[in-house]
C-alpha cells in the first residue's frame, strides 16, 4: 500500500473481474491496440491521482471471469470516476465485468 493510500481516510478497495466479450476476438488488432492504449492511459491517470494497482491476476481456472484486477482508491467516488472513464472509453463494450467496492475491516473477527 502506498503512503497516499495509508493516509486516506476512506481507503476503498476496488475489485474488477473481467473477460473479453466474444466480439473482442473479431476486433482488428490495430483497433484492439488503440483501445488498450486508451485504457492503459486511464489506468495510469488513476494511479497519478492516488490509486494503487495491486496487479491483474489470471483466475479463469476457478471463475467465470478471466482476470481480476485489485485496486485501492482514495474513495469509492474515485473508484467510480476511474470506472466511468473506462466505460466512456468503450471498455465495458468489449469486456464483460463484475466489480466490487469495499472498506477495510477495522476490527479483528470477533
Amino acid at each position: 500500500m502506498s503512503d497516499h493510500a495509508q493516509k486516506s481516510g476512506a481507503d476503498c478497495a476496488w475489485l474488477h473481474y473481467a473477460r473479453p466479450r466474444p466480439h473482442w476476438y473479431l476486433t482488428a488488432q490495430a483497433d484492439k491496440d488503440a483501445l488498450c492504449v486508451s485504457w492503459n492511459s486511464i489506468r495510469k491517470a488513476a494511479t497519478e491521482k492516488g490509486a494503487v494497482s495491486q496487479g491483474r491476476f489470471h483466475i479463469r481456472g476457478q471463475h467465470d471471469f478471466e482476470t481480476v484486477e485489485i485496486w485501492r482508491f482514495p474513495s469509492s467516488q474515485a473508484a467510480y470516476d476511474h470506472w466511468q472513464a473506462l466505460v466512456e472509453a468503450r471498455y465495458s463494450e468489449f469486456f464483460a465485468f463484475s466489480n466490487n467496492i469495499g472498506l477495510e475491516m477495522e476490527d479483528a473477527v470477533k
Binding site: 476503498c12 473481474y17 466479450r21 466480439h23 469509492s76 473508484a79 467510480y80 470506472w83 463484475s98 466489480n99
Partner: protein, 250 residues
C-alpha cells in the same frame, strides 16, 4: 453522475442537484438458533437507521415519488417467491456514505440476522409516474439488468432503435399505473448494470407489464433478474423471530 445511455421519451437524467447514491439489499434470515439475534441488535439497527435518516438518507422509495411522504424505513417482503426473505432500496448522500452505511448496519447486528447482498450504485434517471398514478401501491417490483454481449457488439443505431422499442414497453408500464423511481446504475460495484424500482398494485401487474417488454424483444439485448414483493415497514421485517429461550426449530 454520467448516465450510461441518453434520455428517452420516458426517462430523463436526474438533475445534478438531486444526484444520490443508492443501496439495494437482498437479505436472507439466518437467525435460526436462539441467541443469534435479539431485541438489542434490532434496537441497534433501528438506531443506525435513525442516524442515516438524520444524515440525509432516503429510506423509503415512496419519498422519491412524494418528498412529503414519511421517510420511514420500508422493506419488501419477498420470501413467498424468492430465496431471499426481504429486499429494500435506500438512497444515500454519496457513494462513500452508501458504502459506509451498509457497514454500520452490518455491525449494529444486521450481519447476525441476515446474510445479505448489498448492491451500491448511483441514481441515473428521474422518477416517472404512471398514468392515473395513486399512492396506495402496496407492492414493489425490482428489475436488475445488464446489457449482454449482443448489445455490446451492436452498432449505435441498433442500440438507439432498441431504446425506442423499449420505450414503447415502458409507456405500457405507465399504462399499468406503474410508478418507476427512475433508473439506478450498479456497474461500479456489481455485474448488474441497472436497477429499476416500480410501485405496483400487485404481482399480476408486473407479469402483465413484463409481457409488454417481451413483445418488444427487450430481453434480446439484456439479461435480467426480477423481484416482486409486498412493501412493509422494515421494522416489522427485521424483528427477531423468537424470544430468548425458545429452542425449537422452524
Amino acid at each position: 453522475m454520467s448516465a450510461l445511455t441518453g434520455d428517452t421519451d420516458v426517462f430523463t437524467a436526474e438533475g445534478a442537484d438531486r444526484a444520490r447514491a443508492c443501496v439495494l439489499f437482498l437479505a436472507t434470515r439466518q437467525d435460526d438458533l436462539p441467541g443469534i439475534y435479539d431485541a438489542s441488535h434490532e434496537a441497534a439497527i433501528n438506531g443506525v437507521l435513525d442516524e442515516l435518516v438524520a444524515e440525509g438518507w432516503i429510506v423509503s422509495q415512496r419519498c422519491v415519488f412524494d418528498p412529503e411522504a414519511p421517510n420511514v424505513p420500508m422493506g419488501i417482503d419477498t420470501g413467498f417467491t424468492h430465496s431471499h426473505d426481504l429486499a429494500g432500496v435506500f438512497e444515500a448522500p454519496s457513494l462513500d456514505a452508501a458504502l459506509a452505511g451498509t457497514v454500520r448496519l452490518e455491525k449494529a447486528g444486521w450481519v447476525r440476522a441476515f446474510k445479505t447482498e448489498w448492491l451500491i450504485g448511483l441514481r441515473e434517471f428521474s422518477p416517472v409516474f404512471g398514468k392515473g398514478a395513486h399512492s396506495d401501491h402496496e407492492w414493489a417490483f425490482l428489475a436488475l439488468w445488464e446489457w449482454n454481449d449482443q448489445w455490446c457488439e451492436a452498432a449505435v443505431d441498433e442500440r438507439n432503435d432498441y431504446d425506442l422499442e423499449c420505450d414503447e414497453a415502458f409507456k405500457g408500464d405507465l399504462d399499468h399505473e406503474v410508478n418507476i423511481s427512475g433508473r439506478m446504475r450498479f456497474d461500479i460495484a456489481h455485474h448488474w448494470h441497472h436497477l429499476g424500482y416500480w410501485e405496483i398494485a400487485g404481482p399480476d401487474v408486473a407479469d402483465s407489464a413484463i409481457r409488454g417488454h417481451e413483445r418488444v424483444a427487450d430481453f434480446k439485448f439484456t439479461t435480467s433478474r426480477h423481484i416482486v414483493g409486498r412493501i412493509r415497514p422494515l421494522g416489522d421485517l427485521i424483528a427477531p423471530k423468537k424470544t430468548e429461550g425458545e429452542g425449537h426449530n422452524v
